[in-house]
């Protein structure tokens, strides 16, 4: 239980750092002077200190949504095995419930975006739900391939199995991995699907949804967003690079696991930054094709599992 608490707090505390690292890598790759690694923390502190300015007609749903979104992401951060697989909460939610958890957060964010009734809010909400409607099935399919291999939908069991046994190569997991990265880019509002550095442009998706938020509400939304990215990266690491994670009752493995996690996150983050630098943002109506491809790749991975590995 202690481990569980540590892991949840660790995820929440690390998230802005991961975002900071990603921004730093991106700046370097683009020949810019990079902001400090701690810049996201400073932004959060600034926002938390500012007063909240609410639109006159904002309802209770608008004020509740940031808390729900943030809580969902904290729970997600506690479920995904970051450093250890001995997590009591992980039994409470398997991969399907994890997808449901992301959906819950997203639906609240999309509803809150429609609450004030501005053009940008509903535009962002519509686009977000469209992207999600196509990304969510792809994500489920990505999860189902390892679930079929390890006969379990519990993330900790999957990780335990993959990291325990002898190194075995699964061709199906390669398909799943590519599809997963595509879903990750779409779900976390990264280039080429959305651009996190746009603000007040007609192409924005995620930024359009949180346009009306300010002060601590915005801080929670931003923090949740960073946490979501971290959780997604952690899921990717857990599924495709699970080695180094501490198994149940291996207290000595924890520091090692922490180092391994930091190294893997740093590598993954740098890779994402490279991807984002190389790609250009695509038109919103190209996104269905992009996600359709992710979906097809994931389904293909599953079929490959049946044909080759079963």
């Amino acid at each position: 239980m202690l481990l569980q608490l540590i892991q949840g707090l660790l995820a929440a505390a690390l998230a802005p750092l991961v975002l900071g690292w990603l921004n730093q890598c991106r700046a370097w790759l683009q020949n810019r002077t990079a902001p400090s690694l701690l810049q996201p923390y400073r932004v959060l502190r600034k926002l938390l200190r500012k007063e909240v300015v609410l639109a006159v007609n904002a309802s209770w749903l608008f004020r509740l949504a940031p808390y729900i979104v943030f809580a969902c992401m904290v729970l997600a951060g506690s479920i995904v095995p970051l450093i250890a697989t001995d997590l009591p909460f992980a039994l409470a939610a398997d991969v399907i419930a994890l997808v449901g958890l992301f959906a819950l957060a997203r639906v609240f964010m999309a509803l809150a975006a429609m609450d004030v009734g501005t053009a940008f809010g509903s535009l962002g909400s519509r686009r977000e739900m469209l992207i999600a409607a196509l990304a969510e099935p792809a994500l489920l399919m990505v999860f189902f391939t390892p679930a079929l291999i390890s006969q379990s939908t519990a993330l900790t069991t999957i990780v335990d199995q993959f990291s325990n046994g002898a190194l075995q190569l699964y061709p199906s997991m390669a398909f799943a991995a590519i599809a997963f990265v595509m879903v990750l880019l779409a779900e976390n509002a990264r280039i080429p699907v959305d651009n996190p550095s746009t603000h007040l442009e007609l192409t924005m998706v995620h930024e359009a949804m949180i346009l009306e938020y300010s002060g601590r509400h915005l801080a929670l939304m931003d923090w949740a967003h960073a946490l979501k990215l971290t959780v997604y990266m952690a899921i990717g690491i857990a599924l495709f690079l699970p080695w180094g994670v501490a198994h149940p009752h291996e207290w000595l493995g924890l520091p090692l696991a922490l180092v391994a996690l930091a190294a893997k996150l740093a590598l993954f983050g740098a890779g994402l930054a490279l991807l984002e630098t190389l790609a250009a943002k695509m038109r919103i109506f190209k996104v269905p094709e992009f996600l359709g491809m992710a979906f097809m790749l994931a389904v293909l991975g599953m079929l490959v599992h049946f044909l080759v590995e079963a």
């Binding site: 938390l48 500012k50 007063e51 609410l54 639109a55 006159v56 007609n57 309802s59 209770w60 749903l61 808390y67 729900i68 943030f70 809580a71 969902c72 729970l75 039994l91 409470a92 939610a93 398997d94 399907i96 419930a97 958890l101 959906a103 819950l104 639906v107 509803l111 429609m114 609450d115 004030v116 009734g117 501005t118 053009a119 509903s122 535009l123 909400s125 519509r126 739900m129 469209l130 099935p137 489920l140 399919m141 189902f144 679930a147 006969q151 939908t153 519990a154 069991t157 346009l211 009306e212 601590r216 929670l220 269905p288 979906f295 994931a298 389904v299 599953m302 079929l303 049946f306 079963a310």
Partner: protein, 665 residues
């Protein structure tokens, strides 16, 4: 007191209420306020009886009614108890809500509505307890007719009469198929009790024919593709409580009939039956989800969403059939658990949402999503309760809709154990389709809730909208409470449902569920998968509370209200937000191939631009129109001999007589 007597007492009570209500010339408001709340008592009793009946042995009886040599047989077993529970729980809420709804509003005579409404309830109850084909068909037809008359309550509107006609037509197509299925099941013994049919041994060919006839027959009532066409017509036409009852409960009686025939009477003989059901179910679900996303009328949207959910239910039943045919009864029980739970869940949240549309329509006189908006501020109760229904139907944890979808995904994931490599290849594709449907339903429900309750009011008149009264709050609150409780304690529900699984597939989930405490839902084995909604909810609530407290303690910044930021352009108005049309536009773009879309975009130079778009169900053009044309052509041919002059008909009779005489002599 035996359960069967109680059920029959409720039936008699409802019919008596309807008859007295039809006879008493009371004022509309008084009438609604007296008869509908007391009819809810029957619903409550039925809920209790259903719960009790789940754990009891089957009870059967022969009634002294019916034809001289053909008495009515009735029986209550776990399967019918489950559906009685569903009928009772949803019916109670609808009756309470009706007390408020029918007080005002135009349309039909309240006395007639009272009679038809109660006959409808009683007939649905009789369908569930009938134990012979004769009583089943009588109750089935009574149910169809009562609901038909309820649909055309507002019969002065031509569109509603047309919707009612389509409903009646499809209902009778289905009834003929069911009648034929029962006719085949008695294999020449002329014994119409279900007991005899259960023991009859059919050749595989005839059994398959019975199964397909049942699929068509019950599919017409439930709305399987392509027999779904009446749903989006009839649901918007009917008064909201009636739509709620039809969508929430009546569709489930069709599922009941399908399960009764395929599992109980036929004992699920061939695996391909399940594949057919699975394919039809997934196609229906996908179709419903895509069409729901592009609707602009809130009741049509919910009707298409019902089609989607019925498709999910059928897919689950199909999977259970496949597992059962291969003798994998534990997995069959798991798939059946998903099926039955989704039936119950859909009955609860769809009834809740239809009642919410009723409240919105009463408050605003609007049904079009393009003319609503911002009602969360005028109708906080309806909005909050509808939000629970919205989240539940979108399949989000920790509510009930997620549980049944979780179970269904788990049974899909366990299908690789099937000893059939073709199925092993194709069922994963089914899983992908199901995932797409579930994600699309989230889109649909955000569109529904967002355009009705959030944003700025799109019409001036919405500023006068009033919240629902006490009866409405009780009715909707009752349903929302069920949604939350089933979501939090699914294990208790599944344990209670165990006798139904035992009855239908001969295996239960009790052993696999008993391995952990009541909060942990497991599929087959805890190490395979588990889900704990209570922990889920507790963690989320704890993080919210702790987070809010921490913020207040360390960052006590203020809060102020200001005008919405308008980017410096001037006054924002309600027309700048997305309409329902705009919200559905991406789906139209992506799934254009499935829709028959007719759109007119005004040119940018048009001073009085008018946008117009129409979506038609392609099934009309592909299936129904050719049939209609063929019938018309045929009747044209037959029309040659019809002249309407009596002299000619006399000649026909004379010639026929001569021919017959010639034959005999």
């Amino acid at each position: 007191m035996p359960l069967l007597d109680l059920i029959l007492a409720v039936v008699v009570y409802w019919i008596a209420l309807g008859a007295i209500g039809a006879a008493l010339p009371l004022e509309r408001a008084i009438h609604a306020r007296v008869f509908f709340p007391i009819s809810a008592l029957g619903g409550l009793l039925l809920t209790t009886v259903g719960l009790a009946g789940l754990g009891n042995w089957p009870q059967a009886a022969v009634l002294g009614l019916g034809l001289p040599d053909l008495p009515f047989h009735v029986r209550v077993d776990p399967l019918s108890s489950f559906f009685l529970l569903l009928l009772g729980a949803a019916g109670t809420a609808v009756s309470v809500f009706s007390a408020e709804y029918f007080q005002r509003g135009g349309g039909g005579d309240i006395r007639l509505i009272c009679l038809q409404y109660h006959v409808f309830l009683a007939a649905m109850t009789m369908v569930l307890v009938a134990d012979d084909a004769y009583l089943f068909m009588v109750a089935w037809e009574t149910m169809a007719l009562a609901s038909y008359f309820l649909v055309i309550t507002d019969h002065r509107v031509a569109e509603i009469r047309r919707a009612g006609f389509i409903y009646l037509l499809v209902a009778h197509l289905g009834a003929i198929a069911i009648l034929l299925a029962f006719g085949l099941l008695q294999i020449g013994q002329w014994e119409y009790t279900f007991e005899a049919m259960r023991n009859a041994v059919l050749s595989p060919g005839w059994a398959a024919a019975v199964f397909l006839l049942a699929l068509v027959g019950f599919g017409a009532k439930a709305g399987f593709l392509p027999l779904h066409v009446w749903l989006p017509e009839a649901h918007p036409a009917a008064p909201s409580p009636v739509s709620a009852l039809m969508s929430g409960v009546m569709l489930k009686t069709a599922i009941y009939g399908f399960l009764r025939v395929s599992f109980d009477l036929l004992q699920a003989q061939a695996w391909w039956w399940g594949v057919v059901a699975l394919a039809v179910g997934l196609a229906t679900a996908f179709y419903g989800a895509v069409f729901a996303a592009v609707q602009n009328d809130m009741k049509r949207l919910l009707a298409y969403s019902s089609i989607e959910n019925i498709g999910i239910v059928l897919a689950g039943a199909g999977l259970a059939l496949v597992f059962h045919a291969y003798g994998m009864n534990l997995l069959a029980a798991l798939a059946l658990a998903a099926t039955l739970l989704h039936c119950l869940n859909h009955a609860l949240f769809k009834t809740l949402l239809f009642l919410a549309t009723g409240a919105v329509m009463h408050a605003t006189q609007q049904r079009s999503l393009g003319k609503l908006g911002g009602l969360i501020r005028r109708m906080p109760w309806v909005a909050a309760l509808a939000l629970i229904g919205t989240l539940a139907i979108a399949g989000l944890p920790p509510l009930n809709g997620f549980v049944s979808e979780w179970l269904l995904f788990q049974s899909f994931l366990l299908s690789p154990g099937l000893p059939n490599s073709y199925l092993n290849m194709f069922i994963p594709i089914g899983t992908a389709l199901l995932a797409l449907v579930v994600a699309l339903s989230g889109y649909v429900m955000v569109k529904f809730f967002g355009t009705v309750f959030l944003g700025l009011p799109r019409e001036e008149s919405l500023h006068e909208a009033h919240d629902v009264g006490l009866a409405g709050r009780i009715a909707m609150g009752w349903l929302a409470l069920w949604c939350v409780l089933i979501g939090l304690a699914p294990v208790l529900v599944l344990r209670a449902l165990d006798p139904v699984f035992q009855q239908l597939v001969g295996a239960g989930l009790r052993d696999s569920l008993a391995q952990s405490n009541w909060t942990f839902l497991t599929a087959v084995a805890p190490e395979h998968a588990s889900y704990n909604p209570v922990v889920f909810l507790l963690v989320i609530v704890a993080v919210i509370l702790l987070g809010a407290m921490a913020l207040r303690r360390w960052f006590p910044s203020g809060r102020r209200r200001a005008a919405t930021w308008d980017c410096g352009f001037g006054k924002l108005d309600a027309r700048m937000q997305d309409t329902a049309e705009g919200y559905g536009q991406p789906i139209k773009q992506i799934f254009q191939a499935f829709l028959r879309l007719e759109r007119h975009h005004p040119s940018p130079f048009d001073l009085h631009p008018r946008y117009h778009s129409r979506i038609e169900d392609p099934v009309w053009e592909a299936l129904y129109a050719p049939v209609a044309r063929a019938v018309r052509r045929l009747s044209g041919i037959v029309g040659v001999v019809q002249h309407g002059r009596i002299a000619i008909y006399l000649v026909y009779s004379f010639v026929t007589l001569l021919l017959l005489l010639a034959l005999i002599l």
